[in-house]
Amino acid sequence: MLQMMIRFVVGGAIVSFFALLADVLHPKGFAGLFAAAPSVALATLTLAATTDGSAYAALEARSMIAGEVAFVAYAAACVYFLGIRHAKSAPTAVLLLALWGLAAGALYAGILS
């Protein structure tokens, strides 16, 4: 339980820091880089390497590459629906998380497992 709480606080702090950077940076296209900053990865890999060892964290990092491929597909779909179809941001960004899940799941089943 304590582990989970530490993860929650450390993860929340790092994600908030990168979100804050994205808020103050201009132009918005550049600030968008920070929307895909490896904030969750920094928190998780630090804690995983400390508690479970470097080999365990390295395996997580390898899977992260597949997760980022899914993120590229997700963000590209967001560009299409928000920029070309002019759909509302909130439902579009939330519903398209299913696309991230599908892409990540397919890569896990096809390559990683």
Partner: protein, 149 residues
């Protein structure tokens, strides 16, 4: 194109919105750890690249742009959605840079020092993302096309 820091933009964001992002980030990090322990690091590692804050950031961006335009007298505008699309375009570059982050940690961490590896990987992510953004911004096909007379 000059990159600027606009600290005044922080005044647009309310404490509730900061709290939302803190809670979302914390929940995703805690969930990733739990998934890795329950189903193994290969499955859990996928969630290191979960779009944790993008939906919240895009929603806030659209809301702030809409409010700005409403104050200027425009009742309906798609400017907020276009700003969110620009943010998503940046996120594509950030995610491509994230692959470099993952690859560097995967190959270096088993033999290297943890803080140094993460620092190097973060530098690699930033450099790769900035390079992609710069190339995208300055490449001829990114410029508006003009008809020759």
């Amino acid at each position: 194109m000059v990159i600027k820091l606009k600290v005044g933009a922080l005044e647009q964001t309310r404490w509730r919105e900061y709290l939302t992002r803190f809670v979302l980030g914390g929940l995703v990090t805690a969930m990733t750890g739990w998934l890795a322990h329950r189903f193994g690091p290969v499955f859990g590692g996928l969630f290191l690249a979960f779009p944790a804050i993008f939906p919240a950031s895009a929603t806030l961006l659209e809301k702030h742009e809409r409010e700005k335009k409403r104050q200027a007298g425009f009742a309906f505008t798609i400017r907020g959605r276009l700003a969110a699309a620009l943010d998503a375009r940046g996120a594509v570059m950030g995610a491509l840079g994230g692959m470099g982050f993952g690859a560097l940690v995967w190959k270096t961490l088993p033999r290297g020092n943890l803080p140094l590896t993460l620092l190097l990987a973060l530098g690699c992510w930033f450099a790769a993302s900035c390079l992609l953004w710069y190339v995208r911004k300055h490449h001829p096909w990114a410029r508006p096309r003009t008809k020759l007379a």
